[in-house]
Amino acid sequence: MKKVLISPFAQLLRNGKENPKNFPYWEDLIGLMKQAGITVIQIGSTKDKQLPGVDVFKQNLRLSEIKDLVTECDTWISVDSFLQHLCAYHKLQRGIVIFSQSDPKIFGYTRNINMLKDKRYLRDKQFWLWEQCDYNKDAFVSAQEVMDTLSKLLSDK
């Protein structure tokens, strides 16, 4: 059985609003992953909620523990957040990063599969605070697209 680690949430915003980097279709994606017989391991902070369908939920892990956990998994999926940087630094296995309004050419790594729905959703001010940006559900790829990409990635391994 394949094991996939997910890091579903970007940092909480200071204005309390939803971070525009957060993927809106996690529940659908996890459902698809479960149908494919994948064990889903979620990591997060104390404030993060456990997503329905997740098999294992680990909160507040040390960075070294996250690194070890990623190594144990077949691959990983995250939004544009710290995990892609951690994996790139430690040269861990490639994963899937779901982008929306931030530019993967700037914030992503070519070693990963960076999923951007369309360039037209990229925000003009790439370097401004995320509090200055509105959430846009339309900017994300669908759960099925991520699942298809994941299936291909796992079958290539």
């Binding site: 940087h85 630094y89 700037i106 790594y109 790439q126």
Partner: protein
């Protein structure tokens, strides 16, 4: 208690009607008081402080508390000339130099004196000299002579624990010293502002084999005031000239000032990792420098060698955080390449 082993001296200018009465009051309230006080009045226009009602009260108070005070007209060439005169005027074993804008906590002299007499090799003991408006405790603070240009010494920080730290030099004008250890005197070539005078004076003690100690459990309060003292001259050139003299001293002493490169990371974990990925290039670029990182997430740098990690706030005491903001840097350049490349270009080219 009164001791005739200590004479307090203070050189004053431009502080008649602001901080100086506070200094005298805190002196009168010491648990251990010097039997003698010499005031070097360095004001250009002299006032007879006995004619002032507040001063009259304070001066009577000093007398009633057993402190025999005297006012002498200063050299008006800057405080170092008065400090130099004090070396002759004072007959006691110890001189307690006071700054004319420092308030000493009541047990200051008692603690300094009780410590200095424990070891005949101790030349001078200095207290903390704290700004009441800002609470500082910076891990990078240092009284090592190599770190002189860091601009942050341990006497300005309050670690909130009592400790006795041997140092290379004392900073701040208030300290207690053994007159014998100051026989080399002050450098009278320094300008009126006397920039670095206490560092030169006390480091020469150290070089002569004496010990210098900072007592972190002893506090004096620096009542910063925008006029008077060395600030009244408003002459940057004097500071520059004194600094040039100080460089000559460093050369003579064979001191190579430490070169510190500080990187404040006011960012998320991901940005910390991106920064870590370019550390080899940074180490190469700043070879021979102390590399200090002000980090919000120190764990990102676990196992990294030849760097120092401090808190972000410690780091930003030394550098302009905004100028080190990679997002601002990228925004200004309409950056299109990767974050790591931006960091590398920003810090190494």
């Amino acid at each position: 208690m009164i001791t005739d082993k200590v004479t307090a001296t203070v050189s004053t200018k431009g502080r008649y009607h602001n901080t100086f009465p506070l200094v005298l009051t805190s002196l009168a309230n010491q648990t251990l008081r010097p039997s003698r006080l010499i005031i070097y009045d360095d004001n250009d226009t002299l006032e007879d402080i006995r004619e002032n009602e507040i001063y009259r009260n304070v001066l009577f108070l000093l007398n009633r508390r057993g402190i025999n005070w005297e006012v002498t007209v200063g050299e008006r060439k800057g405080q170092i000339h008065n400090h130099q005169r004090a070396l002759t005027d004072v007959k006691s074993e110890f001189i307690w130099r006071l700054d004319d804008d420092n308030i000493m906590e009541p047990d200051t002299l008692e603690k300094l004196y009780n410590y200095i007499i424990t070891d005949p090799k101790i030349a001078a003991v200095g207290p903390l000299i704290l700004d009441p408006k800002s609470e500082i405790n910076n891990k990078l603070a240092s009284n090592k002579i190599e770190d002189i240009f860091m601009g942050m010494n341990i006497q300005w920080c309050d670690p909130k624990v009592e400790s006795f730290i041997e140092v290379d030099h004392l900073q701040g004008s208030t300290f207690l010293f053994r007159k014998e250890a100051g026989a080399h005197g002050y450098d009278l070539n320094l300008s009126k502002v006397g920039h670095r005078e206490e560092t030169i004076f006390t480091y020469e003690m150290r070089r002569a084999g004496w010990k210098l100690v900072v007592m972190t459990g002893v506090k004096t309060w620096h009542m910063r005031f925008g006029a008077g003292g060395i600030r009244s001259d408003q002459q940057v050139k004097m500071f520059e000239r004194d600094e040039s003299i100080f460089y000559d001293y460093l050369k003579k002493w064979g001191i190579k000032p430490s070169n510190v490169k500080i990187f404040p990371l006011n960012s998320g974990i991901g940005d910390h990792y991106a920064f870590r990925s370019i550390l080899p290039a940074i180490k190469e670029k700043w070879k021979g420098c102390r590399i200090v990182i002000g980090a919000c997430y120190p764990a990102v740098f676990e196992g990294e060698e030849n760097i120092e990690i401090v808190s972000l706030s410690d780091a930003t005491s030394f550098v302009n955080e905004e100028e080190c903001n990679v997002y601002r840097w990228m925004d200004q350049r309409n950056w299109k390449k990767s974050l790591s490349e931006a960091l590398k270009t920003m810090y190494t080219s």
